[in-house]
């Protein structure tokens, strides 16, 4: 019986059960009991006295299909926002993480700034940053910022906040790379910067792909906060439809779209991790 907790072997555990009649049976039992449990749950819900009202309010087929096209179209804005923001976040956060790691007393002020940045922007609720930038910054009436739209400020707010989280993820990755790697690289004559660039950061990033993608998935939801400043993205569009119909079903459309987006992102994470594993580690396919 396998005892290894290696996550990549989940599918192989099923395969390990080949031929052993007991193993096969227990899988069928597990599946059957899950379905029965789910069935009981659903039955409880649909036979409850308030179910017709809830069904009409949340799962109205006509309203669902009527509002879906508009909401899907608005969803394109969410996609634009998170793709743009993520590019800047990945770069800016790496900068903060590197600054945070600069050694020696001479760099203390820079380290301090980086720490203050990550503390502050992880502490402040994202929506407040959106509001302060979106309504506060334009109010300063700086002529060289006239071109900045609410969409710009909202996206900037997301970049500032998420860079703080992602910087800490990078930092964990960088610190998890053994110091002997740095010793080996420096011994070859590589400067501190080149060591970071060619040896440390590439390893660090590969190690933190799951938490990075995790933050990315969180970002896709937070794109809805930009709507507070005016732009109509998917969640806001669904809100509009909800208000027009006095029915919550449009929220289901938005929920569905967000989930459909998350699934490929999660699979992408899995694929990236598996690829690195296969390429680098012993025991991978030869």
């Amino acid at each position: 019986m396998t005892t290894d907790a290696d996550p990549g072997r989940g599918s192989r555990i099923l395969g390990d059960l080949k031929g052993s009649g007991g193993g096969q049976r227990s899988v069928w039992i597990a599946l059957a009991s899950t379905l029965v449990f789910a069935g009981i749950l659903v039955a409880l819900i649909v036979t409850s006295p308030g179910w017709p009202a809830v069904k009409a309010s949340f799962f109205n087929r006509k309203i669902f299909f009527d509002s879906l096209p508009e909401i899907a179209h608005a969803f394109l804005l969410n996609i634009r926002i998170f793709l743009t923001a993520e590019v800047f976040i990945l770069v800016f956060a790496l900068l903060i993480a590197v600054l945070r790691g600069l050694p020696g007393p001479v760099f203390f002020p820079i380290r301090g700034l980086a720490i203050a940045y990550t503390d502050f922007f992880r502490g402040v609720p994202t929506i407040l940053v959106v509001y302060i930038l979106g309504f506060g910054a334009p109010a300063l009436q700086l002529s060289w910022l006239e071109w900045a739209t609410p969409l710009f400020w909202g996206t900037l707010a997301l970049v500032l906040v998420y860079s703080a989280y992602v910087a800490e993820v990078y930092r964990a990755g960088i610190e998890s790379v053994h110091t002997s790697q740095e010793a080996a690289a420096r011994s070859l004559g590589l400067s501190r910067l080149k060591t970071l660039r060619y040896v440390i950061v590439p390893q660090a990033v590969r190690r933190v792909i799951p938490p990075l993608l995790n933050d990315f998935i969180g970002l896709t939801k937070d794109t809805a906060l930009v709507a507070f400043l005016g732009p109509v993205e998917a969640f806001r569009q669904s809100q509009i439809d909800v208000a027009a119909t006095f029915n919550y079903t449009p929220y289901m459309c938005a929920a569905l779209l967000f989930v459909l987006l998350t699934i490929p992102l999660a699979r992408l994470t899995d694929w990236l991790v598996a690829r690195e594993r296969k390429r680098q580690l012993a025991g991978g396919a030869r």
């Binding site: 002997s180 011994s187 004559g189 590589l190 040896v199 390893q203 680098q280």
Partner: protein, 251 residues
């Protein structure tokens, strides 16, 4: 560089980690093309000594001179000094996210500025010389320990250093893989490379060393030609140490 023939000189080098003094005033002298072996128990300071030579650790007092140039002074360009010294560690420390070829060519390309084709050609030639050419596109973790250590040596050689530091490079290997690494080192010695080797492989040391020194608790207790140290050691501690080694069948 005027070096009066001395590749490496340590003068009264002291090194402490916090309260604990590891090197207690070491004097050492390695001539050009000499093979100098450091022997001693674990914790005697061999690794620390090597790491001080390539400036991975700062010394607390004393001087280190490389080819006559004092490298322990404040304003030295550390990266330049390290280009001239190759170090190989016990744990190989290859870069796991790069193929063997890239491991070897990284420093020549990014530090020496060699164009990719040239660096690749030189690397392949080196790998061929040590029987690793067919592994050049593999990733380190796919290789055996002995192969990885040989790649580590090649990686250090690719920078064409004047001095090689080897820090117990066979200690982490399975016994049957030790020989292939030792033969690489022997080849380098025969080629005239100046080497400072910390090792437990006493037979090997006796074979290739020009000079051996016994490091005991941060001090060089005894040094001299291998026949003298292994054959007729003066200090009781040396005799005790070597006696145990012989008992263990390692000499």
């Amino acid at each position: 560089m005027s070096s009066n023939g001395r590749a490496l000189q340590l003068e009264a080098v002291r090194k402490s980690f916090g309260e604990h003094e590891v090197l207690k005033g070491v004097d050492l002298d390695v001539g050009e093309h000499e093979v100098f072996c450091l022997i001693g128990a674990s914790g005697s300071g061999k690794s620390t000594l090597l790491r001080c030579v390539n400036l991975l650790e700062p010394v607390n007092s004393g001087r280190i001179l490389l080819h006559g140039e004092e490298i322990t002074r404040r304003d030295v360009d550390v990266n330049r000094v390290r280009r001239g010294i190759g170090i190989v560690f016990q744990a190989y420390n290859l870069f796991p996210h790069m193929s063997v070829l890239r491991n070897v060519t990284l420093a020549p390309r990014k530090v020496l500025g060699k164009p990719g084709a040239e660096a690749n050609a030189e690397a392949i030639a080196l790998l061929e010389r040590f029987g690793l050419a067919d592994k050049r596109d593999e990733f380190p973790d796919r290789l055996s320990g002995g192969q990885q250590q040989r790649v580590a040596i090649v990686r250090a050689l690719a920078m064409q250093p004047d001095l090689m530091l080897l820090d117990e490079v066979t200690s982490a290997l399975d016994p049957e893989l030790v020989a292939e690494v030792l033969s690489v080192i022997r080849e380098l010695a025969e080629g005239g490379m100046t080497m400072l080797i910390a090792t437990h492989e006493m037979t090997f040391a006796r074979d290739i060393a020009n000079k051996v020194c016994f490091l005991d608790e941060g001090r060089i207790l005894e040094q001299g030609p291998p026949e003298k140290i292994f054959g007729d050691p003066e200090e009781p501690r040396t005799r005790q140490f070597l006696g145990r080694i012989v008992e263990a069948g390692r000499l």
